[in-house]
Symmetry: C2
Subunit: 575 residues, 2 copies
C-alpha cells in the first residue's frame, strides 16, 4: 500500500479524552476514531489488526473443533424472559422496539440464542459434544465507557458455547477451550495470567478469566508465586484471621465523638488502629436494605455480597443519605449494628464474631460505642467471607503471601451447567432414551479489547510496537526524499519485490519531510523498517526493527534474508 | 470436515413460511435459520458461503483502490438530523435510546457517518479521490420482511463511499466502482443486468442497479435487446403516445352507472376499452391530498409521483375510504377530476391532455361523466410522466419494443453529488485554497442477499448447486457404507489427501443409509462428489458433479486431475 493513498489520519496531539496509552495511541496512529462515547470506528490500519486477531481466534477455535456461524445481533425479548435475564441484565442491555412495538435487545451475549437454536435440532446424545462460535459485534450500554476499546459499548467479541451430556463432558470441553485460549493469546503475544473468576450473573460455578497483565487494567489479580493460585479480586477468597480471642469482654460504653465520621477520624480519636473497629455499611439491595458489618481495616467485596444475596450487581447500591438517616436515626457517619431503627438484613463478616471489644457507630449523631462484642451485644447473619482481597493477604492454597497486579480481561470461560438449558427447556435424549438438559459452557474473547491490550503491552513513548503477527503491515519502506530519483526508484523496486514475495508492505512515498515520515512510522508501529536514503545509488539501505534501537546498513540483496530471519524468530511463515 | 461432527440440521419438509426456492433451500440445507421475521442466523455451511462472497467483494474493492474499515452500527440522531434523514427515512429505521436517553439508530446505511468521519481529517484536494468501504451488518425494519435473505431486517452489506473534487472525478470513481461490481458479480457467477435506477431518497441524479435476473425478483427490469437500455420499472421513462387528436370534442354527459366501480366494470358498461377512460387516484401525500389522473389502461408509478412531490415513499399512501368520501362526496369508485369537494393537489399525466372524449368518475355515487376533455372540463398540474412501464412499451432510446423481466437487486451505485457534504458541512480546499464541498458517490452490495440470488440461479428440485467459487466445501467424499472397512479406509485416505492438497473437503462418515447421504449431498449442493462404494477394494470410486447427471468410475489416482480440471474450467486456483 502506498502511504500517499492510505487513509491514515495521524494526530500529533494527544486527544484529551484518552487517559491510557492504548487509547491515545490507537487514536493518534489513525487506527480508530470515536463517534460517541464508547462507540468507535476502525480505520484501515486498525481494521487490518482486528482482522488478524479475528483470524488467529478463528484458526484456534476451528482447530479445537468449534464450528463458526453467525447469529443476528437483535434478539427478541421472549428469549431473555425465559432465562430471567431480560430484567436481570439491567441497564447495560440496549433495548429497542420494532415498527410493530415488539421488543428486542442488541445482544450483549448469546447464551439464550445459541441454546434456542440447537434445542430443536440437536436431539440425541450422539450429536454431543457440540461447540459453536461466532465472531460478532456485541452491545453493552456501559455506565462508564472508557479507555477506548477496553470498555466500549459496541465491540467485537468471539463467543462460543459448548453443549455436553454431563459435567464430565463439560469439563473436557472447558479444558479444550482453555487450551485453545492459551494458544490464541500466546500467538497474539499477549502476556497473560489465567485466574479464577466470579460466575455471578452468568450462572454456573467455575469460571476463569484470561487477564492481559497491564497497569492500566481495570481488573485486579491476586496471585501467588509459590503455587499457581490466581484469582480476580472479585473472586479471591480472603484468608484473614483474627487473633486474640482470649481477651476478656469489657462493658459497652457510649462515647461522645463529635465531628469524627470517617474511620480515620475515629481511629485518631480513640487512638486505636482501624482493626479495632467494625465498619457498618448500608446498601439498597434490590427490595431490601442490607447492613453489612466488617472489620474496620478491610474493604467490602460487593460481588461477594451480591452473590450471597443472589442479586445482580446493578441491583446493589450504597444507600443515600436519607435512607441512612432513616435506618440509623443519625447523621451519616455513625452507623452501627446496635439499635437500628428499621427492619434490615444485617450481615456480619465471620471475622467480626472473633473480634473482641471493638468500636462501632452508635446510630446516634456524634456517638460511638466501644467494647462491643458479637453475640452479646448484637446478632446478625454471619457470612463466611465478604472481604476484598488485599496485597499481602495469604494465599488460600499454599499460605504464602499473595501479590496483586492489574490486568485487562481479554477472555473468559464459564462452566454454566444447566442454567440456560433448563430455563429454555433444551434437552437431548441420552443412551437410555431419557430426556436430559444439555450441560453447557460459554467462552468469550474480546477481539477489539485484545487490540488495546496488545498496544498496552507493546508501545513506547513514540508509538505502538506491533508484534509481527498482528501488525497491519509487516514492512515499511521509507523513501527519505521522493524527489531523489535513485531513492524513489530503489524504494519502488524494493516495495514491489516485497509484495511479490507475499509480504504486506507499505511504501512511504509521501511528499513529506523525513522527520515526519520517521515519526509516523514510529507511531503506527510497523515492525520491520527499510529506509531508502543517501546510499540508494549504491543499493545500500538502512534496516531496523521498531522494537529495537539498532540500525544497520545492508545491501538490498540481504533484505529478504533479514526479514525471513525475523519471521522465523517470531515463529511465523511468509505467505 | 467430518459430517458426523458438522452442525448441519437439514430438513426434509419445506418450511411453510418459505415461498421461494432460495428461502426454502437455504433453510432445508441447514445453511440458515430464522429467529424472528426477517432476522436470520447463518449456520456453519451458510456462513462459509457468506465469507467467500465477502472475500470476493473485498478483493475487488481493494483492487479498485477502495480501503476497508469498519464503522459502528449504532449512530447518533444528530448525524441524521443534519442530513434531514432522521425523519425522512421513515419507519424502516430502527431507533433506540441509550441509558442516558440519547437517541440512536441502527445504521441502515452510512452516508452521513462516512462523511462525518472524513470531514475533519481530509482537508486538501491532494488527498482526493478517496474511496472507503466496509462489510457490515445493516438494519432496516422492513414493513414486509420476506423471501429469507432477500428482504430481511438484519443483513450483511458492503457499502462504499467515494469523495471527489468535482463531478468529473465522481464520474471516474463511479466508473471504477461499476467495473469492480461487474468483476464481483462475474466472479460470483451471478447472471445480472445493470439497469438505470431511481435515486429517490438517496439524493443525486444518476444511479444504477445490479439486478440478478430471477423470476422471484421483487424488482422489474425493462430492457431493450436492440440497444443496451435497461431500467427498473420505478425509473423507466414511459414512451406511450396518444393518437387521434383531431377528433371533435363532444358535450359532456353524466351517465347513471349503478354498481360499476372498477375500471373493468365501467369498461364493460360503456362497452369501451380501458384506454377510453381516465383513472383518478386519491393519495395522502405527506401534508396534502394528491389526486392523480392517468389513462385508464395504465398504472401509476408511485416512485415517479413521490419524486415529483419531493416526498419519501413512506409518506405516500392511498387514501382511506373516509378521505375518498370527503374528497369526492361519493362512495369509493366514482372519483373523477371534475367537481372535487376539497382543496387537493390535482396532478395530471401529460397523456391525459391529448385524450379526447374520455370517461371519468362523476364524484357522485353511481355516476360517471363521458366526453370529458382536458382544458375545457378541468385543469390541473400537468406532469410529464407518472406512468409505470409495461411490457411492450417502446424503448426510450431506440424505439424498439421493451422486454420486462424480474430481478433481485444485489448491488447499487449512486452519484450523490454534494447533498451530504453540504448538509454536513464537509469541505476541502481546492488548488486555489477555496473551500468546496466533496462530490460524493455511494455504492452498495447486498452480501447476504447475493447468497440468496445465487441459490435462485443455481438450484434444481433436489437442492442447491453451488458454483465452485462460493461453495461451502469444494468436494464431498461420500462413504456409502461406513461399516465396510475398505470403503471407510479409502474414504479417509482420499479425504486427508484432498485436505493436504489445499482443497476444502467434507467426508460423509455418518452412520446413515446411502439414500440419506445422497439426498443431503444434493441438497447442500457441494459441486464435486466422490462416492466410495462397492469397488473401494479396487481403488475405484465414482466421480460426479452436482451440476450434471453424469457419473463415471475412476481410479483414485485420477481424482486430483479431475478436480484440477474442474477448477481450471471455473477459472479458479486450488490454494
Amino acid at each position: 500500500m502506498r502511504m500517499s493513498k492510505l487513509y491514515l489520519p495521524t494526530l500529533r496531539e494527544v486527544p484529551s479524552e484518552a487517559e491510557i496509552p492504548s487509547h491515545q495511541l490507537l487514536l493518534r496512529a489513525g487506527m480508530m476514531r470515536k463517534l460517541v462515547s464508547g462507540v468507535y470506528s476502525y480505520l484501515p490500519l486498525g481494521y487490518r489488526v482486528i482482522r488478524k486477531i479475528e483470524q488467529i481466534v478463528r484458526e484456534e477455535m476451528d482447530a479445537a473443533g468449534s464450528q463458526e456461524l453467525l447469529m443476528s445481533a437483535i434478539q427478541p425479548k421472549e428469549l431473555w424472559e425465559a432465562s430471567g435475564r431480560w430484567d436481570n441484565f439491567g441497564p447495560e442491555m440496549f433495548k429497542l422496539k420494532d415498527r410493530n412495538e415488539r421488543e428486542f435487545c442488541l445482544g450483549p451475549t448469546h447464551e439464550e440464542y445459541f441454546t434456542n437454536l440447537i434445542k430443536d435440532e440437536v436431539k440425541s446424545y450422539k450429536q454431543l459434544p457440540l461447540n459453536l462460535y461466532q465472531i460478532q459485534t456485541k452491545y453493552r450500554d456501559e455506565k462508564r465507557p472508557r479507555f477506548g476499546l477496553i470498555r466500549s459499548r459496541e465491540f467485537i467479541m468471539k463467543d462460543a458455547y459448548s453443549y455436553d451430556k454431563d459435567l464430565e463432558g463439560l469439563e473436557e470441553s472447558y479444558k479444550i477451550m482453555w487450551e485453545a485460549y492459551e494458544k490464541v493469546f500466546n500467538r497474539l503475544k499477549i502476556y497473560y495470567k489465567v485466574v479464577q473468576g466470579d460466575t455471578g450473573a452468568m450462572g454456573g460455578k467455575v469460571s476463569h478469566e484470561f487477564m492481559a497483565m497491564s497497569e492500566v487494567g481495570e481488573g485486579l489479580v491476586a496471585y501467588c508465586d509459590s503455587c499457581d493460585y490466581a484469582a480476580t479480586d472479585e473472586k479471591a477468597a480472603v484468608v484473614y484471621n483474627i487473633d486474640g480471642q482470649d481477651i476478656e469482654e469489657l462493658d459497652c460504653e457510649k462515647v461522645y465523638t463529635p465531628n469524627a465520621r470517617t474511620i480515620e477520624d475515629i481511629a485518631a480519636f480513640f487512638n486505636r488502629g482501624e482493626e479495632g473497629f467494625a465498619k457498618t455499611l448500608i446498601y439498597n439491595a434490590k427490595d431490601e436494605i442490607a447492613v453489612v458489618v466488617l472489620p474496620g481495616n478491610r474493604e467490602l467485596n460487593e460481588v461477594k455480597l451480591c452473590n450471597y444475596l443472589g442479586i445482580a450487581e446493578h441491583e446493589l447500591e450504597l444507600a443515600d443519605e436519607e435512607t441512612v438517616k432513616k435506618v440509623t436515626g443519625a447523621e451519616v457517619g455513625f452507623a452501627g449494628p446496635i439499635g437500628l431503627k428499621e427492619e434490615v438484613k444485617l450481615l456480619v463478616d465471620e471475622r467480626i464474631t472473633k473480634m473482641k471489644n471493638f468500636i462501632v457507630g452508635a446510630n446516634e449523631t456524634d456517638y460511638h460505642i466501644k467494647n462491643v462484642n458479637y453475640g452479646r451485644d448484637f446478632k446478625g447473619e454471619v457470612v463466611e467471607d465478604l472481604l476484598l482481597i488485599e496485597k499481602g493477604d495469604i494465599c488460600p492454597r499454599c499460605g504464602e503471601k499473595l501479590k496483586m497486579d492489574r490486568g485487562i480481561e481479554v477472555g473468559n470461560i464459564f462452566q454454566l451447567g444447566t442454567k440456560y438449558s433448563e430455563s429454555l427447556d433444551a434437552t437431548y435424549l441420552d443412551e437410555n432414551g431419557k430426556e436430559k438438559p444439555f450441560v453447557m459452557g460459554s467462552y468469550g474473547i474480546g477481539v477489539s479489547r485484545s487490540m488495546s491490550a496488545i498496544v498496552e503491552q507493546y508501545h513506547d513513548d513514540n508509538g505502538i510496537i506491533w508484534p509481527l503477527v498482528v501488525a497491519p503491515y509487516h514492512v515499511i519502506v521509507t523513501v527519505v526524499n521522493i524527489k531523489n530519483e535513485d531513492q524513489m526508484n530503489l524504494g519502488e523496486k524494493i516495495y514491489s519485490y516485497l509484495e511479490d514475495r507475499g509480504l504486506e508492505a507499505l511504501i512511504d512515498d509521501r511528499n513529506e519531510r523525513a522527520g515526519v515520515k520517521f515519526k509516523d512510522r514510529d507511531l503506527i508501529g510497523i515492525p520491520i523498517r527499510i529506509t531508502v536514503g543517501k546510499r540508494a545509488g549504491e543499493n545500500i539501505v538502512e534496516y531496523s526493527l521498531r522494537s529495537s534501537d539498532d540500525k544497520i546498513e545492508i545491501d538490498v540483496d540481504e533484505i529478504m534474508d533479514r526479514i525471513e530471519e525475523e519471521f522465523e524468530k517470531e515463529g511465523l511463515k511468509i505467505n
